[in-house]
C-alpha cells in the first residue's frame, strides 16, 4: 500500500495515563475511503485512540499521520486546520445544550464558513434529513432521547463534509430500527461522500456487517486485523473469544488487579 492510500497512519506509538500504559508500540493504518472498525473490550482505550487521532491528547512517543501530515507536536494552528477535515461523534453525543438541534448542526458551518444563512438552512436541513431528524430541528438537546441525540450529533459531525468521520460507539442506545438506520447511514455517507470512517464499537455483528477492515485492540496493541471474512476464519483463541463475546479467555475481561482470592481473604491488615 503506498503512503497516500492511508488517511491515518499510526506507527510505533506509545501512550500512558498516569502510570498505566494504554498503548505500547501500536501500529495501525486506516485506508482512505473505507469503513475501518476498531473493536476491543471496554476500557482498553478505544476512545483514547480517537482522541489521539484528533490531537486532543499527545502520545509519549511515536507518530500519528493524518493525510500524510504529522499530528504529534504540531502547532495549534495547523492542528486546528487538520481538525476541520475530521468529524467526531462522541460517545455521549456532546450536543451543545443551550442551542437547538438546528443551531447545533449549523454551529460548525457558521463558525468556519461565510455562507449566507439561507444556504446554511438548506445544508442543515439536508444533514438532519439524512439522520431522520428534520422534524426535530427546533427541539433542544434536553428534549431528545439518547439515541436521537446521537443521530443529531452525527448530523453535526458531517456538517462540514469532513474527510474522516470518527464514530465512538454509534450503536449503543439505539433501538433496532435506528440501529439499522445508522449502520446504513455510515455506509452510505462513506460511499456517497467519499469520506473515510472509523467506527469504534463492541457490537461485533453490526460492525462486521459494515466494516471493510477491522482492527481488534487488546493488551495495549493490535492483536488482530483483517477483513471481516478473514477475522471470521481466525482460529486464534483470543480472537475467537472476542468475536463470540465470551468473557473468559486469553483477553482479560477484568481491569488489572491483585489476585482475587488473596484480596478476598486477606482482610487482616
Amino acid at each position: 500500500m503506498s503512503v497516500s492510500d492511508n488517511i491515518i497512519e499510526i506507527s510505533a506509538m506509545n501512550f500512558s495515563r498516569e502510570d498505566r500504559i494504554i498503548y505500547n508500540d501500536i501500529n495501525l493504518n486506516v485506508p482512505r475511503g473505507k469503513v475501518t472498525a476498531i473493536m476491543g473490550p471496554s476500557g482498553i482505550g478505544k476512545t483514547t485512540l480517537l482522541r489521539l487521532i484528533g490531537g486532543q491528547i499527545t502520545p509519549s512517543s511515536g507518530s500519528i499521520k493524518f493525510n500524510d501530515q504529522e499530528l504529534v507536536n504540531i502547532d495549534r494552528k495547523s492542528l486546528f486546520k487538520a481538525r476541520r477535515k475530521m468529524g467526531m461523534l462522541f460517545q455521549s453525543g456532546a450536543m451543545f445544550t443551550e442551542l437547538s438541534v438546528f443551531d447545533n448542526v449549523a454551529f460548525p458551518i457558521r463558525e468556519h464558513t461565510k455562507l449566507p444563512e439561507s444556504i446554511i438552512r438548506k445544508i442543515v436541513l439536508m444533514k438532519l434529513e439524512a439522520v431522520g431528524l428534520r422534524g426535530a430541528a427546533d427541539l433542544f438537546p434536553s428534549e431528545l432521547s439518547g439515541g436521537m441525540a446521537r443521530r443529531a450529533a452525527l448530523a453535526r459531525a458531517i456538517a462540514l463534509d469532513p474527510d474522516l468521520i470518527m464514530y465512538d460507539e454509534p450503536f449503543t442506545g439505539q433501538d433496532p430500527i435506528s440501529m439499522g438506520v445508522i449502520v446504513r447511514l455510515i455506509r452510505e455517507l462513506n460511499d456517497a461522500l467519499g469520506v473515510t470512517s472509523i467506527v469504534v464499537s463492541h457490537d461485533v455483528d453490526e460492525v462486521l456487517s459494515i466494516a471493510d477492515y477491522v482492527y481488534i485492540v487488546a493488551n495495549k496493541t493490535v492483536i488482530a486485523s483483517g477483513t471481516p471474512e478473514e477475522l471470521r476464519q481466525e482460529t486464534a483463541p483470543q480472537i475467537v473469544q472476542f468475536m463470540q463475546g465470551r468473557p473468559d479467555g486469553p483477553v482479560p475481561f477484568h481491569f488489572p488487579s491483585d489476585d482475587y482470592k488473596k484480596e478476598l481473604f486477606n482482610h487482616g491488615n
Binding site: R51, R84, M88, F90, F96, E111
Partner: protein, 260 residues
C-alpha cells in the same frame, strides 16, 4: 509519621502551584486575541445578561437591606454624640469604600461564580468542550473568554448599583423613618465623599474582585474532574476560595489605599 506529613505537605503545595499554573495558562489562552472578535460579541452580550443582569435582584435587595441596617446602627451610635446629621457621610463612605465592593463580590461569587463553575464543569463532563476542540474551535475563546469579560464588566457595575441602592436604603431609614434632615443627609455626603479617595478606590477594589472571582470560577469549572462529584466539589471550592480571596485581598487593598 513526621516524614509522611512533610511529604504530604510537599505534595499539596506542588499541586497548588500546578493548579495556579494551569489557571494562568487558561487565562492567557482565553485572553489571547483570537481574530474572531465580531463573532464573540453576541456571546459576550448573552453572558452579560446571564452573569450580570440575572444577578441584579440579589444585589438590589441586599444593597437595600444593608443600607437600611447601616443607617439604623449608625443613627443609634451617632445620636449619642448629637452627630446624627453626619449619618449621610457614615452610610455613603461605608458603602463606597467597603461594603459595596466586598458584599457585592461575595454575593456575585455565590450567585454567578458557582453557576459558571457548574456550567463549564458540566460542559466538560458531557464532552461539549472536547467536541468544540474537534470542530477546530478553541473552547477558551468560545466559552471562557466571553464569560470572563462578562464577569469583569458586570461586577463593578453591580457594586456601584449596590452602593447606590444602599444609600437610598440609608436615606429611607435615616431620613424618612428616624427624622434626620434630608438636606443635611445629602450635603454632608456630598462634602465628605471624595472622587479619588472613595469612588475610584472602591471601583478599583471591585474591578480586582471581579477579575479574581471570575477567574477562580472559570478555572474551577475548566479544571473540574468531569463527574457529578467533581463538579459539586469544584462549585463548592469556587465559593469558598473566592470568598477567602475577596476578604484577604480587601484587607491588603485597604491597607494600600487607606493605610497611610
Amino acid at each position: 509519621m513526621a516524614i509522611s506529613s512533610i511529604q504530604q505537605m510537599g505534595r499539596n503545595s506542588l499541586s497548588v502551584i500546578a493548579g495556579l499554573g494551569r489557571a494562568a495558562f487558561m487565562l492567557v489562552g482565553a485572553l489571547k486575541p483570537s481574530g474572531r472578535g465580531v463573532k464573540l460579541l453576541p456571546l459576550l452580550i448573552k453572558q452579560l445578561y446571564v452573569v450580570g443582569v440575572q444577578s441584579l435582584i440579589i444585589i438590589v435587595v441586599s444593597g437595600l437591606f444593608i443600607g437600611m441596617v447601616l443607617s439604623l446602627q449608625g443613627y443609634t451610635i451617632l445620636v449619642g454624640y448629637g452627630a446624627e446629621q453626619s449619618l449621610g457621610q457614615m452610610v455613603s463612605l461605608s458603602l463606597l469604600r467597603e461594603l459595596g465592593p466586598v458584599v457585592s463580590a461575595l454575593l456575585f461569587a455565590g450567585r454567578a461564580g458557582s453557576a459558571l463553575t457548574a456550567e463549564i464543569g458540566l460542559m466538560k463532563a458531557t464532552e461539549q468542550l472536547s467536541s468544540l476542540e474537534m470542530m477546530a474551535i478553541d473552547p477558551l475563546h468560545q466559552i471562557v473568554a466571553p464569560r470572563f469579560w462578562a464577569g469583569v464588566i458586570s461586577l463593578p457595575l453591580l457594586a456601584a448599583i449596590f452602593s447606590a441602592v444602599g444609600i437610598i436604603g440609608g436615606h429611607l431609614v435615616g431620613v424618612d423613618w428616624l427624622g434626620v434632615d434630608s438636606g443635611a443627609f445629602w450635603s454632608v455626603m456630598q462634602s465628605s465623599v471624595e472622587w479619588q479617595e472613595d469612588i475610584v478606590n472602591g471601583a478599583i477594589k471591585s474591578i480586582i474582585f471581579a477579575i479574581v472571582v471570575t477567574w477562580i470560577a472559570l478555572h474551577k469549572g475548566y479544571d473540574a474532574v468531569p463527574t457529578s462529584e467533581g463538579i459539586s466539589k469544584a462549585t463548592t471550592s469556587t465559593v469558598v476560595q473566592s470568598s477567602l480571596a475577596i476578604l484577604g485581598l480587601d484587607f491588603v487593598l485597604t491597607v494600600v489605599m487607606f493605610g497611610s
